[in-house]
């Protein structure tokens, strides 16, 4: 009887210890948030990135497999600010109650270019969801992910704090580097024309005026009148270069360069990580800043 009791106690101890060291499962609908969760969580988390590097998150459609992966997670990370609008309700309705959802962007201050005053109803659809193009906003996102992991897993608070501190130091250094690099470009040449409206946070941080061919999402086709006005603006402002994006078709941009006399300045990572230099967040920001500065100088 005594040996049976000891065996049961040992089994109980084994399983409870195993539970203590179980990884926190994180499912992420953003390549940037996947990196943040991995950097902050380290060995204590298992991150599944449901949106892959180079994939356009505006075009993403929730699959049954991804839904299962999200349902099996402890924490689901979303970009927020309307980025997941087409499938957010399905996620909310389907995920088990124990799964924590963190819509990171919704807890960051928003930027709304051209929103009519007094039309608060427009805010949800007109707020720029591309907060990750600002290293300063990525710092705030890191703190939010850290706090969410601490809430879920009180046993590894020190690990999460250390992971977040190290990553925040990298982000501060990245922002400082970006400011110095952009300082090489005269402020009156900081006119950034991109394929879609994804750089409002970047523009705010580094003193750019921005314009784009498409709107906040890549699903909106540009109108002829908008493209005509944009060509006129590029000519009037003497914009030297316009920029392509890694997930979008360059056809309209190339046509605009023919009509306006501007050149193609390079390809930017607008919607998250991607193959090449943009495989990491720091690499993505460095690539974008170098490309923009070198083309507009």
């Amino acid at each position: 009887m005594g040996s049976t009791l000891r065996a049961v106690s040992l089994c109980f101890l084994f399983f409870s210890t195993a539970k203590l060291y179980a990884e926190i499962k994180v499912a992420s609908f953003s390549t940037i948030l996947s990196e943040i969760a991995q950097k902050v969580g380290g060995k204590n988390v298992a991150v599944t990135s449901l949106i892959k590097p180079g994939q356009d998150p505006h075009e993403y459609q929730l699959t049954p497999g991804d839904l299962s992966a999200a349902a099996a997670a402890d924490l689901v990370l979303l970009s927020g600010k309307g980025m997941e609008e087409t499938y957010l309700r399905n996620l909310r309705d389907t995920l088990p109650k124990r799964v924590q959802m963190l819509e990171v962007g919704d807890q960051l201050p928003g930027l709304t270019k051209g929103m009519d005053e007094g039309k608060e109803a427009q805010k949800a659809t007109m707020e720029d969801p591309h907060w990750w193009n600002s290293a300063l906003e990525a710092e705030k996102a890191t703190a939010l992910v850290r706090d969410a992991l601490i809430r879920l897993d009180g046993l590894h608070i020190a690990d999460y704090q250390a992971g977040a501190s190290a990553y925040l130091a990298e982000l501060k250094e990245l922002d400082s580097w970006a400011k110095r690099k952009i300082a090489e470009l005269p402020r009156n040449r900081r006119k950034l024309v991109t394929s879609h409206d994804a750089f409002q946070y970047f523009a705010k941080d580094y003193g750019f005026q921005i314009d784009s061919i498409e709107g906040l999402t890549t699903e909106q086709e540009p109108s002829v009148s908008h493209v005509t006005a944009l060509i006129a603006e590029i000519k009037k402002e003497g914009v030297k270069a316009i920029f392509l994006e890694n997930t979008l078709n360059p056809k309209v941009s190339i046509e605009i360069t023919r009509e306006s006399g501007a050149k193609i300045g390079g390809t930017l990572y607008a919607d998250g990580l991607g193959p090449g230099e943009g495989e990491t967040y720091a690499g993505m920001i460095r690539h974008n800043v170098n490309t923009i500065v070198d083309a507009l100088k």
Partner: protein, 139 residues
């Protein structure tokens, strides 16, 4: 050539008209509007004054990626003039300062325009201070 002179004349005119279009295309130069350059402001004689709370102070000011002013300051205040483009969007200066002391110290940069407008920016640090500072009129 046979036929009436009237028919012959009509044929000649028709041939000439047919030739007119390719001739026009060949001889017409593409009319392009002259490229409109970005309005480049006239360089202004800008005065920079540097004040530091601790000496000696070694500082470097960089403008558009080029060293503008490097100094080993042994007095708390220095002034120098520079011809600088000062557009309405303003300018960025990269300031790097180092002090021998590890106590909290500050470097203040004052920019004065020929019209008398002055702007100040201050950086604080212990041993070093480094940042990009922006000067814009009316700010």
């Amino acid at each position: 050539m046979r036929g009436s002179p009237l028919v012959q004349a009509v044929v000649v005119v028709a041939v000439l008209l047919l030739l007119l279009l390719p001739l026009h295309r060949l001889t017409q130069r593409e009319v392009r509007l002259p490229e409109q350059p970005v309005a480049s402001p006239t360089p202004k004689q800008v005065q920079l004054a540097v004040r530091t709370t601790a000496i000696p102070c070694r500082f470097q000011i960089t403008f558009l990626g080029k060293k503008l002013w490097t100094e080993e300051a042994s007095t708390p205040e220095l002034t120098k003039d520079f011809p600088i483009d000062f557009p309405k969007e303003g300018i960025d200066l990269v300031v790097d300062a180092t002090w021998e002391t590890q106590a909290l110290a500050a470097i203040e940069i004052t920019l004065s325009l020929p019209d008398g407008a002055t702007m100040h920016r201050t950086l604080w640090g212990r041993g070093t201070a480094s940042d990009v500072i922006t000067f814009r009129e009316n700010e």
